[in-house]
Subunit: 367 residues, 2 copies
Amino acid sequence: MTFGVDNLPYGVFSRPGEAPRVGVRYGDHVLDLAPALHDEVFAAPSLNPFMARGRTAWRDTRALIQNKLTDDTSMTERHLIPLEQVRLHLPFEVADYVDFYCSIDHASNIGQIFRPGTEPLQPNWRHLPVGYHGRAGTVVVSGTPVRRPRGQLGPDAFGPCAKLDIEAELGFVVGVPTTLGSPAGAFEEHVFGVTLVNDWSARDIQAWEYVPLGPFLGKSFATSVSPWITPLEALPRIPGRAQLPEPVGYLRRQSDWGLDISLEIVLNGEVVSRPPYSSMYWTPDQMLAHMTVNGASLRTGDLFASGTISGPAPGERGSLIELTWNGSEPLKFSSGETRSFLEDGDTVTIRARAGELTLGEVSGTIV
Amino acid sequence: MTFGVDNLPYGVFSRPGEAPRVGVRYGDHVLDLAPALHDEVFAAPSLNPFMARGRTAWRDTRALIQNKLTDDTSMTERHLIPLEQVRLHLPFEVADYVDFYCSIDHASNIGQIFRPGTEPLQPNWRHLPVGYHGRAGTVVVSGTPVRRPRGQLGPDAFGPCAKLDIEAELGFVVGVPTTLGSPAGAFEEHVFGVTLVNDWSARDIQAWEYVPLGPFLGKSFATSVSPWITPLEALPRIPGRAQLPEPVGYLRRQSDWGLDISLEIVLNGEVVSRPPYSSMYWTPDQMLAHMTVNGASLRTGDLFASGTISGPAPGERGSLIELTWNGSEPLKFSSGETRSFLEDGDTVTIRARAGELTLGEVSGTIV
C-alpha cells in the first residue's frame, strides 16, 4: 500500500457541509482522527493545536494510530473516508514563512546565468544558509489555481510576467515554539514534519525589484504546499554533505539530518526533472539553528523551506530557469511543444519518494 | 488635553488578573470599550476583529466614542481607567510584516556610506517602492526589552552584534483583507491606522548576510511598535512629494496621502534627531498598491512600514548609521558620553506629532 502504516501523513479535510478537521492519510482513505482517537484537538480546522503539543505527543499519537489501523480494524473502518469524498485544505496556519537557498548546485547555476565569468557563489554562501522571509498569507494548498502575476518588468515595462517559473522545494513545519531571545534547541524537538513546496517565481519581476532588499513581488503572489505533512519520524535520515570550510559552532551538525528524498517535477504530464534532496549543502537542522541564532522566536506553524532543490546533473535542476538556462535551451515535449517558462494552462506537479515512502504531491495550474 | 477627542488611538490593555481587551486612549485614561459601547468585539485580546469590520464601522465607532466622551460623561467615567493601572499589549495580531524603503534621503545616505563615489540610488529606486518581508512573529510592543543579537559578523567572526541600530519608521495596519489574485482597492478602505515603529537593526550581521536575498537575521530579532494605533481618519493629509520620473499607472496617486508627521528620536533622554515624514518620496497608498499589484492578498493585521524616515538635513536622519555616518562621527551627549551605535542599557524612544495630534510613542531598552 502506497500510504501504509509506516507513512501516515497528516492533513485537514472536509466533506460537503462539514467543518474542516484533521485526518491522516491511509491508502486511498482519510482516517477521521477526532472520533477515531476520541481527541478534540483533531476537530480543529488546522494542525496547529496538535503540532503545539510536542514530540512526545507526536510519537504517542503515531504509535496509537498505527496500532488502531493494524489491530482494531473494525473500529477504524468506521472512521476511514474515501479520498474522493473529501476536500483537502491548507493543513496548518502559516505563522512566518522563511525560504532558504541551500542547494549549492542551484546557487551556482543562478550565479552562472546572471553573472557569467565570475565566481558563481557569493562570499557568504559557504558560511551560512542564506535565507529571507516570504509572504505567509499567500501560502496556498495544492490544487489552488495560480494566477499569472502582473508587475514592473523593467524601468518602462509593466504587464503580465513573461518568465513564470517554479521552484521545487522541501518545507519544514514548526510545531513547538521558542521564547524570544533564546535560540532553538534540537531540531527534532521543534519540527513536526515536512511538505513539498512549489515556490512560484516571476523571474522578470524579481530581476528588476530585488536589489538591494531581496525578492518581494516576484515571489509573494503564491506559494503552493502539499495538503499532506509527513511526520519527521517517518523519514529515513542520512549524513549531510561534507562542508568546506567547516561551519562556525552553532552550525555544526549535532546529528544526521540529511534526507534521501528523490523528487520529480512533472509539467503537463511529462517528467522534466528529478532533483535529489541528498545533494543539498545545508541541512534542515542548520537552517533552524541559523534562523534562531539571533534570538528570533519560533511560533507553531512557522514554515521554512529549503530553497530550490537542484542536483549536479542537467536533468536534476529544480527550476525552469536552470532547466532551460534562462530560456536559451527550451524543454522539448513528446507532443512537439516546447517550454522556456510556464504558459497559461500549464500544470506543474511535484512528487517525491524517500526510500519506500511517498510524500504527498503538490500541484498547481496557471490561469 | 494631549489625547483628546480628536485623537483617540486604539490599543489593547489589561488590569492585573483581567483578560486583555480593546480600549481607546483619552487623556491619561483608557476607555474600556466593550462595556462602554456594549459591543463584544472589543472584548477580544486584539484589534483584529474590530479592524476587519471596515471603514463604515470605524467611522461610526469613532463618532460614537466622541459623542459619549463629550455628552455622556457620567456614563463614560465609569469606564475610564487610569493608564498607570493598566498594562499595554501588542495591539493587533500581526499577519504579514512588510518593510519598505521609501525615504529618498535615507536610501541616498545608505548608498553614499556603502558605495561612495557611485550613484547612491539603485536603478529601480525611483520606479517602485522597494520593499521586503520581515518577521511578523518578532514584532513586539513598546517597552519590551531588546536583547542584543548574536550572529555571524563576517567569514570568521561570530559574536554579539557590535553595530546595533534603530530605524524610525511609520507603520500602517491593514483592517480589510483582499482576495488572492485581486489588487487592493482604495487605501482608506483597507488601512485602519498608523503606529510608530522601531525596526531594530544589526548592521554588521546585515552587511554580511544580505547579498543576494536581502536582510534576514539583521532585522528579525525584534521590531517594536507603539501600543497605540492612531486611526487614519484622525490624521491630517498633505500632497505627496513630486516624483520624477512619473510612476507607472498603478502607482499614480489617486488622492493626497502625504502625511505631515514630525518625529523625534530620543536616546537616553536626549533628542538626537527630528525626522520629517513629509520628506518621504513614496506615499503609503503607493506602498499598498505596489504590495498587491501582483495579486498578493492582504489579511487583517498585515503591517507595512515606511522604512527609515530621514529628511535632507543631518539632524533629520532616522538611524544611527546615518547620524554617525557609519560610526565615523559619533553623537555627543550633554553628559560627555558619545555613541556610534547602541550600548547595553541604552533606551531609545520615538515620538511624533501630526499637527496638533500626538502619536503613541515606541520605546525599547537594550539588554
